[in-house]
Amino acid sequence: MKQTPVLEGAFVSDPEPALVGSKCRSCDTVAFPASFTCPNPRCARKDVVSTPLSRTGRLASWTTVHFPPPPPFVAPDPFEPITVVEVEFASEGIQVVGPLAGASAEGLRMGMAMETVVEPYYSDDSGEVIGWKFRPAEGDAGE
């Protein structure tokens, strides 16, 4: 089946799934999705390169969406509530939202380790749309 990324260049699957952002070589600011420039207003050099984010971060918050969002969200019928999580990548100084994978909201707790995975969002006649999700990391003890 043909696979299309939800946002070209925002993540990689190989060698391991990870988000891809941009990093300024002058001031270390990381942006996601990647930007063509550096968003730090006090940075004059604005010298950005593509950078993979850490594979694992910490759960900063979550919410379960109980009503189907409108298009372009593709809602299964019948709609099952989806959980959106916010994951903090401390070494990059950034937090990112994405769908929860491999767990239900009941099992979540603040601060638990979450890892990035790449999974299908939905499929239609033209194939599968894939994107990033976050799932509780193997063997997480929550720190």
Partner: protein, 400 residues
């Protein structure tokens, strides 16, 4: 230094709700003429107009001011159409305020009229030949409706301060009681705690009754110079003592609608809702007044989370203290600092172009002492603040 004070000479408000039989043009024309008449002026006396650029109205909606002027009779005055999301009303006020303080004009008509889609606000279509999909498309594919952004912040608040589901519900109970006293409000039912807690979960912990609906609504005000106000015999003189506008600061940890990331809480170099904190600070500074001087506040209660957070963002209490003000009844009518005596967006719903102007209309009525059953006794000073997607905010302080 400003060459003139800015006075609210006239206000006009349309009831809020769903009006499938009525065009936003008619609603806008009605409030415009209402505000002009309330000011004791004629349509042909208006020197300039600013109007909300209403995206749901297509290309004529984006030029709503010209559309309304064409309906009521074109007079050749300057017209600016502005869109700053839910902060549009405040941004329009700021533009009109600047035209008068600078001495450019003696009267400016400010109009917000809006018909909203039902349910979640959808994304606005974009050109197909952009190289990458805009983030507003991607966030919908990820599945993040606007209330989900607020829910993510609310869960953090619960974790940090021990706020409860009951606190969220009590905000609605209070605002619905206020709204039940306002004939212009869309929802005039006073809800009980049990009824709010029984409403469906939308984005947990936020329930349906704890998130404002999307409404049709319209509001207008006429701002004039002090010279013009004297000529019109405006009394009492409701003065716009401050009108600020601010945008976000780099390093703010708020994940902005419709973005997908922000500085992490640990790495943040700016406060949550930095634009809102800045707008309030700028307004206090401009007016030479502080939060302790305010008799009441109309804040952006887009959700129960907003009401709790904005009490802190606007300087009324320390972080984690908003729930205590609520519990003590201080934010209810009759309390020390009534919050949203109009009933707020919780009772009116959101009409993004008009909601900031709705707040100015309410404060004007309150300061004139004509707010009826919801009157804040003896009120002479109040602050309004809106909350706009993608980090826009405006605050106004009105005094009499």
């Amino acid at each position: 230094m400003p060459v003139s004070d800015v006075i609210v000479a006239g206000v006009g408000l349309h009831p809020w709700g769903k009006f499938p039989e009525k065009s936003w043009v008619e609603m806008g024309a009605e409030v415009a003429m209402g505000a002009v008449a309330d000011a004791g002026m004629e349509w042909t006396d208006v020197e300039a107009m600013v109007s909300g650029a209403m995206q749901w109205g297509g290309s004529t909606g984006m030029r709503s001011g010209n559309t309304i002027a064409a309906a009521l009779g074109e007079t050749g005055v300057p017209i600016a159409n502005i869109n700053n999301a839910c902060a549009s009303g405040g941004s329009l006020m700021r533009a009109a305020y600047a035209m008068i303080t600078s001495g450019m004009h003696d009267s400016v008509l400010v109009i917000g009229t809006d018909k909203s889609p039902k349910g979640y606000f959808p994304s606005v279509p974009v050109l197909a030949d952009e190289p990458r999909p805009p983030v507003d498309m991607v966030r919908w594919q990820v599945g993040v409706p606007n209330p989900a952004y607020w829910a993510l912040e609310m869960r953090k608040r619960m974790e940090a301060y021990g706020s409860t589901d009951e606190h969220l519900a009590q905000v609605k109970v209070k605002n619905s009681r206020h709204g039940s006293l306002n004939p212009y409000a869309r929802y005039r039912k006073a809800f009980t705690l049990e009824q709010v807690m029984a409403s469906p979960m939308v984005c947990d912990p936020l329930r349906l009754l704890e998130i404002c609906a999307t409404s049709d609504g319209a509001a207008a005000v006429v701002l004039v110079s002090d010279k013009k106000a004297r000529r019109l015999g405006v009394s009492p003189l409701v003065k716009v003592a401050a009108c600020s506008l601010a945008s976000g600061e780099f390093g703010d940890p708020t994940i902005r609608i419709p973005l997908l990331a922000a500085a992490s809480d640990g790495a943040a170099t700016a406060p949550l809702l930095s634009e809102s904190r800045l707008a309030a600070q700028m307004a206090y500074e401009q007016a030479g007044l502080g939060p302790e001087d305010m008799d009441f506040v109309e804040l952006p209660d887009n959700s129960s989370w907003h009401e709790l957070q904005y009490l802190e963002t606007m300087g009324f209490c320390d972080p984690g203290e908003a729930e205590k003000l609520l519990d003590a009844g201080e934010t209810a009518l009759g309390g020390r600092l009534p919050v949203c005596p109009s009933g707020g967006f919780s009772s009116f719903g959101e009409a993004t172009m008009a909601q900031g102007i709705l707040q100015i209309v309410e404060v004007t009525w309150q300061l004139r002492g004509t707010a009826g059953a919801r009157q804040v006794e003896g009120a002479t000073k109040a602050i309004t603040e809106v909350y706009g997607a993608q980090a826009n905010n405006s605050a106004c302080i009105l005094t009499t």
